[in-house]
Each structure stands twice: as C-alpha cells, then as structure tokens.
Symmetry: C2
Subunit: 308 residues, 2 copies
Amino acid sequence: MHFGDRLITAVRRSGHPLCVGIDPHLHLIPQIFRVGDMAPNSLQTASAVRTFLAAVMDRVTGKVAAIKPQSAFFEQMGWRGIEVLDNCMKRARANGMVVVLDVKRGDIGSTAEAYATAYLAKGAPLQADAITINPYLGMDSLTPFIEAADTNDGGTFVLVKTTNPGSKDFQNLVHGKMPLYQTVARKLSELSKRHAGPDTGWSSVGVVAGATSPAEAVNIRKELPNSPFLIPGYGKQGGTAEDAVAGFVDGPEGPEGGIISSSRGILFPKLPPGAIGKDWERAVDRALAAAISDVQKALENAATTKSG
Amino acid sequence: MHFGDRLITAVRRSGHPLCVGIDPHLHLIPQIFRVGDMAPNSLQTASAVRTFLAAVMDRVTGKVAAIKPQSAFFEQMGWRGIEVLDNCMKRARANGMVVVLDVKRGDIGSTAEAYATAYLAKGAPLQADAITINPYLGMDSLTPFIEAADTNDGGTFVLVKTTNPGSKDFQNLVHGKMPLYQTVARKLSELSKRHAGPDTGWSSVGVVAGATSPAEAVNIRKELPNSPFLIPGYGKQGGTAEDAVAGFVDGPEGPEGGIISSSRGILFPKLPPGAIGKDWERAVDRALAAAISDVQKALENAATTKSG
C-alpha cells in the first residue's frame, strides 16, 4: 500500500496523529532498566536500551499509528546501538506500526543511493517505512531517496522548517520574496503531487514542518497541499498542540495532515521514588493517554474554529 | 595536538594534500575479495569488505595524511557495516592517519550532542578525527559538534558548496547580494578564527568546498582565510586537480589549505583479466602514485602562476 495512504489510514484508524519519538537518552532511562554505568561505549548499555525499548514498544503498540526512532541516540552506542535500532524497527513493523526513521541524511549520487539502500530499498538491512532527509545539497540529492522509497511503498520527509532558534539563520533567508524554507517547499510541490496516494491523495513525499511556528506551517501547507507533515517540537521542545495542528486540513474524519511527534514526555515520565516496573508502566500509559487527549482536543478546537 | 595543526602538519609531512576516500561500492570490489553475492544485507558481505579495506589500508598507510570513509557505504550493510567502519577507522588512526568521517550529520540540541558523542567526543564508539556536518538547521545546530570536537582535539567540516549540478538549487540562491553558500561561509568566519591552531593558524572548523567550481572556492577562501577545505569531486566526479587547488593559499612549503579527496580512481583501478592479489596491489599503488603526482603538479603550477 502506498506510503501516503498507509500513513494517513493508520492515523485515521488510531483516532489521532500522535507519533511516539524513540529517543533513548541514556541519562534519562529509568533505574529499573539501567545496567552498569550506561556510558555510550559500555558493552552492556546497548542491551539495556534494547530491553527498555522492548518495554516501551509493549506500552505503545496498538495505541499510535507511527513511531519515530532518532538514529543519533542509537549511533552514539556504535554498531551495537545500530543492532538495537534494527531490532526496535523490526519489532514495530511486525506489530503493524509505521516506522519513520529520523536520520536527516543527505548526499549526492551513488552515496545517496547507498543511504537509500540502507533504509528504504526492498530488503534494506535497516528497513524503515520512511526516513527524514536534508535538502541543502539540492533536488538531485533527494531523488535517489524518493526513487528507492517508490519501489518499496516507502516515503520521505524532507526537512523544510525546524523548531530550533537557529533555524532562522538560513531557512528564513529571503531571496526574491520568499524565505528559503518556502522555496524548498515550492520546489517539492511538483514531486509531492506526482507521488499522491491513490486512496487518500496524501503523498509519499512528506516534509518536516516545525511546530513552534504555526504561521510558517500554514505557508508550507499552501505550497504542499497533499504532503504529510512530520511535526516535531510538540511537548518538551516547546510547541503546543494548537501550534502543531496549524498545517492540518479537513479530512473525512476531521482535520488531518501528518503526524505529531512527542518523545521525552512519553518515554521518560516522572516516577515515584523507588518505582518498580508496574509504576513505570502506569506512568508511561498515563503520559501517552494525556498526550493523545491533548492532541485530540487541539484538533477538535481546530475543527470548531474552521466551521465556526 | 589541535586538529587544524595536526591536519596541515600531516599534509606538509606527506608532501601532498591527497586524501583517500574510502567508499566501498559493493559492485566495484574486485573479484579476489568478493564472497557470495555481495548483496548489502548478505551476512558475508561485511566481512569481505573488511578484508578488502584492510588490504587498501596496507597500500595507502604512510603515503597519505588522511582518509575519508563515507558512512553511507557502511550503513548500507546495517550494523555489520558499522562494525567494519569502526575497525577501519581504528586501524587508520593506530597507523597515524587522520580520519575524516563523511557522515554529513545535522540535527538540533540533544540530538546533535548524541551524534557528537558517537563520532567526536572522547571515547566515542566510532571515534573519528573530524566529521562532515550539514548547516541547513542553523548555527546552533553546529555548536554541539564543534564543542565536542574542541574537547578532543577533533574537527568539523561544514558543508558549504557541493559538486553536484543540483547544488545550485539552494546553495546558489542569492539573498541580499550573496549566494547562500557564501552566507554560510561568512557566518562561520568568526567561529573559524576562534578555532585557529596555535602552530599553523589553520582552524579546526573546516568546510566542504566543491572542486568543480574554482571561482566559488576563491569566494569561500575570502570568507574563511584559515579554514581547511575538504575538497571532494576530484577525479571521477569531474573536477581537475587545478580546480581543486583554487582555494589554496601560500604556506611555508608551497600552496596549502586542506585536503583533496579521491576515492574510486584509487580504490577501484582497472585490473587485467584474471588479476591476482599482486596485480591488484600494483594497480592500486600505481593509481595512488598517479593521483599524488597529478595533485603535486597542479600545486606547482599554482605556485608558478602566483609568483609569475
């Protein structure tokens, strides 16, 4: 099934667009899962993270459409970390979740093809459903990723606007009358249309659209009416749920238009002193339910505002 | 020893700025090293690549200042490939070579820190001397990399200008009076100066400056007088040695200013039919000697042109 259709259908089925970011910050992993000093290069760290993430996946499976593992937190453990990433993605995909691997890769020619072989091609050793990619090297640097995704019902999310203060340094530079991020979005529009899913119309070419600037999200949506947004920055990064849904549009079951990622708030909830496994499970369940409800309320408000 | 000093001192000692790009294209690996089908996800592929690269390292050790492994070609073999990358970098560093890992990473906040932990921090599981990084996310996205490198006598090469035709799509967009790539270079200039090496003056903040556009290299050099250039695109990617040294400046032992990377021309020379190990060794030695001589001649011409 086409990636755009698959993603949005899964979101509709789950009843909300919340996506769980899998960012295993080593210093935040709860006591009950820690082994040894949890240094990135200690031999036991990767297997402790593997156990932690297996427990996380048990909590979130069936409750969200998608997860977004952040490659950096696996790479910091070297090849052992990549083995854990592999295991985590296989487990999630086997359970029917859409896996968007956040790797922000970008390179040219045969090097971009090698990255696509790693993550997107049929039989990729680190098979994801979609990955994030960086446009700085130009449109021809994106093509190998998009083509590999095409052969395998996969997708891409091109970085357009990010949530950090420094994102204005280059993304907001104006040439002609448009900021760079909007030019990137406009350059993608033809590609996005060409990759529309037959069932929902949503494209397999998505974009990363930061949640801390709703006006910018609206700008990006104008350029890319059928690109799914991957919206980071909700929760701990400072964006509100209302900001996050600013780029959503009317769908058959309410506003829709992508996935909203939250990581730390769900993976690392506050625990009572001396917490045991059951306490941790309850805390994660509560944090996930609260985040889902928060996003659902924002979507209801958005729907009311539009119809009102 | 400070990275800028270490890199340029090693280049002066070797007598040339040629750097060997370690891009293990699986379909180009010679018959004598192949095992099984050499598919990226086959179990034996990674160990075949490991053997091939050990043989390559035997040929180039002592002849070049630096190697530049391209992470994509390792990632395409999954975690087993990362283990081979780890082994390759350890071997090169143990033999005194400077390792510039081409990963083109870029992310924000704690995610950028996790990448820096993977590649640049003291005790990093995939310890490189320097890595390439992507500026699209803004200056604050570069800081964690530069700071981690600082603590460990490491360095960074920020993508400024690349060699692909599509590099004009965004890198050459003009705002005010400058193309984006020059704005990126200008924004880096303060950082570059602040990170000058005490011995040579060369900075630990370097830039990737494509070799197919010598005029652009001169522009970048004006903004960044003491940033080492990492110059890809020499050899198979279409740049000539003369193009590659356009951004070099006068040094105590002739023109200097960075490293020039060549990969395919050296790793995969043409072999006679039925070639055995000795034929391969001779072909690689000859290809490496020819590339070094080519770069040296270009530097001599550059020196003559300037003094003449």
